[in-house]
């Protein structure tokens, strides 16, 4: 009997600890599928974040390094420069990448490091119990913005792709979402594209994936899908911000 869909080889059998309906699981699976399809399992070194994906080394069946909070792009830089024959990607949340790790991601991008970044933007600090992130939408309620985020007090949400698109060192940038099957397929394509940029030695690539955190958004997984579709995409438009063709 032919198998049409199954657990990718690069994903261990271990049960995810993620909350019901959390999109981290979908994104993990897509990354593992692409690693399998590009036959990268043996040469991959994953750099994991602090955040809910901190236990990623329990799930990805590849070599892994756990970076200090926000420092994954710096660790990835070191690994890739010392071992250029390896395939190196970071997997980071928005608290990790766009808050404490803002400097690291900007400078890795500006240097055009030959690494791939999977940036999971769920507009909140999931792991620590739902505090406001720099990416939290205006009006969005979190434990540290109980009346909803206000621009007068905490400014405006950070659009990472738009910001990095201004940097010459960047080769590939795309923002996607996984709120329905069509967008899941598109996200996988984007991840593949980003990984191929590194394999071709063409420099820095980042895929931002809009992701739901039903638990800390205080929503059912179903309502969280609607929040991504109707609120997040409004502020964080999907699309390719920079591609190899443009750079060449």
């Amino acid at each position: 009997m032919a198998v049409v869909f199954e657990r990718p080889k690069s994903l261990k059998e271990t049960k995810f600890h993620y909350c019901p309906g959390c999109h981290h699981g979908i994104i993990h699976r897509l990354v593992a599928e692409v690693i399998d399809e590009l036959k990268l399992q043996e040469k991959t070194i994953a750099i994991l974040p602090v955040g809910c994906a901190v236990l990623g080394y329990e799930y990805f069946d590849v070599d892994c390094i756990e970076a200090a909070h926000g420092r994954a792009p710096a660790v990835a830089t070191g690994v890739k420069r010392c071992r250029p024959e390896t395939f190196v990607f970071t997997y980071q949340g928005d608290g990790d990448l766009a808050s404490i790790g803002t400097a690291e991601i900007i400078h890795a991008a500006a240097r055009g490091e030959n690494i791939s970044v999977i940036y999971v933007n769920n507009a909140i600090y999931g792991m620590t119990g739902g505090q406001m992130a720099p990416t939290t939408l205006l009006g969005q309620k979190t434990t540290t913005s109980p009346q909803g985020r206000k621009a007068e007090l905490t400014g405006y949400p950070l659009r990472v792709c738009e910001m990095l698109a201004t940097l010459q060192g960047v080769t590939y940038l795309e923002r996607t979402s996984v709120h329905d099957p069509k967008h899941v397929r598109k996200t996988k394509k984007a991840i593949k594209e980003a990984f191929q940029v590194q394999l071709a030695g063409k420099g820095f690539a980042l895929v931002e994936v809009l992701s739901a955190c039903p638990t800390n958004w205080r929503m059912s997984p179903e309502r969280a899908l609607d929040f991504v579709k109707n609120q997040m995409i409004n502020y964080y438009p999907l699309g390719v911000f920079k591609s190899l063709e443009e750079v060449e």
Binding site: M1, A2, V3, V4, F5, E6, R7, L11, K15, F16, Y18, C19, P20, G21, C22, H23, H24, G25, I26, R29, V178, D180, P181, V184, R185, P214, P221, E222, L225
Partner: protein, 73 residues
């Protein structure tokens, strides 16, 4: 086209219903019993109506679903 068979590994399911929402034919329902984690797992209510489109498998955040071709659906 050969029939596709959708298999749910029930003990991995957290009952989030993302597969149920994604199914274009509306044939996924949550079991009335609970699994080892205490969730109502997803299952196919009318397997003969399944087109094998993979929507459920693509959305499942816990890799519960496996799809095979050539089985009796």
């Amino acid at each position: 086209m050969q029939k596709r068979k959708v298999i749910f590994q029930e003990d991995l399911c957290k009952g989030c219903e993302l597969c149920k929402i994604a199914c274009p034919r509306g044939i996924i329902k949550m079991a009335d019993y609970i699994n080892t984690m205490g969730y109502h797992p997803a299952q196919l209510s009318e397997p003969e109506k399944c087109s094998g489109c993979l929507s459920c498998a693509l959305m499942c955040p816990d890799v519960v679903i496996r799809v095979e071709r050539g089985g009796v659906a």
